[in-house]
């Protein structure tokens, strides 16, 4: 009887394990660092970079290649409430309030990240 060729090989397993180890290591360095309890919002767009507290209500109107993106910080959560991009995935993401939460609008080049603030915050260190 003809021996059946395996669909997944031993080296496939090694490739999969290696990739998962790389992702796991990256996730550890990105997510496992402590923070003091206060959270900040970092917003990056063509209008520049802005960092502020998640607990101070604020509305930012940002310019991008597609037009305006409106970021709203309210009641300890951040969301994109309006965007000129075509698919509005960023608006549909809804509110983000946990550390490492993020909202991204690729077409309009806007990235919103919630990050740990305070004395031990990892602000401009590698995160």
């Amino acid at each position: 009887m003809k021996k059946k060729k395996p669909v997944i090989t031993f080296f496939d397993g090694i490739i999969l394990a290696s990739v998962l180890i790389i992702i796991g290591t990256l996730a550890f360095f990105v997510y496992a660092r402590g923070y003091t309890g206060t959270l900040n919002v970092r917003v990056r767009s063509d209008s520049g970079e802005w960092t502020g507290s998640l607990y101070e209500d604020k509305t930012l109107v940002l310019d991008g290649p597609m037009g305006k993106t409106v970021v709203q910080i309210q009641n300890g959560a951040v969301r994109i409430i309006e965007s000129s991009c075509p698919d509005k995935t960023c608006v549909k993401t809804g509110a983000v309030s946990d550390v490492h939460g993020w909202i991204c609008c690729l077409p309009n080049r806007v990235l919103v990240v919630v990050e740990g603030g305070g004395a031990q915050g990892y602000d401009s260190e590698s995160y």
Partner: protein
């Protein structure tokens, strides 16, 4: 033009059409996260990986990139540059991986390596030119989802090429 060259052109055209069809389906699937793509339009490339000459493979990768840019409406935006960088990186890595014998690395392994290269390059380019260090927060879920979807796609492609009578008739292994 020789008969063989015509057959080869027809095959590339057929596979490119298949990629276009899959890109359309991909576009119709709602994306819960930006960046996220199942990558099903890569299936024709995976099927052809060990079966078409390098030149035809490169044409197929190029057409797939253009078609996808056209369908998603990103062809004339900077997002196409991101996609193109990812597509070129994944194409190169998959072609290199496919040089190894099928018994060593299956299409699942090739697909996984290709997706990882594509996603890593896209993140690097996005980080360098647009989002700065913020991409590190996006990277783990993005890479993990890409790993899962590409492995499943490669697994399906491997099963398909092993069992399909059409593949064994029209796309025999190169060596």
């Amino acid at each position: 033009m020789t008969r063989k060259a015509i057959d080869s052109e027809r095959l590339v055209a057929f596979l490119a059409g298949f990629a276009l069809f899959l890109a359309t389906i991909e576009y119709a699937i709602p994306k819960p996260l930006p960046f996220l793509r199942l990558g099903i339009a890569n299936l024709p490339i995976l099927i052809a990986l060990r079966r078409l000459p390098l030149k035809d493979l490169l044409v197929l990768v190029g057409i797939k990139l253009l078609v996808q840019g056209f369908y998603s409406g990103t062809l004339f935006s900077y997002i196409f540059v991101l996609s193109a960088c990812g597509g070129i990186a994944s194409g190169a890595i998959m072609v290199l991986a496919a040089l190894l014998p099928p018994g060593k690395v299956s299409l699942a392994g090739c697909s996984l390596l290709g997706a990882f290269a594509s996603n890593a390059v896209q993140l690097a380019v996005a980080g360098f030119f647009i989002f700065g260090q913020g991409v590190f927060v996006i990277a783990p879920p993005f890479l993990l989802l890409g790993t899962i979807s590409s492995f499943l796609l490669g697994f399906f492609a491997e099963q398909f090429v092993q069992k399909s009578a059409w593949v064994s008739k029209h796309l025999p292994l190169k060596n």
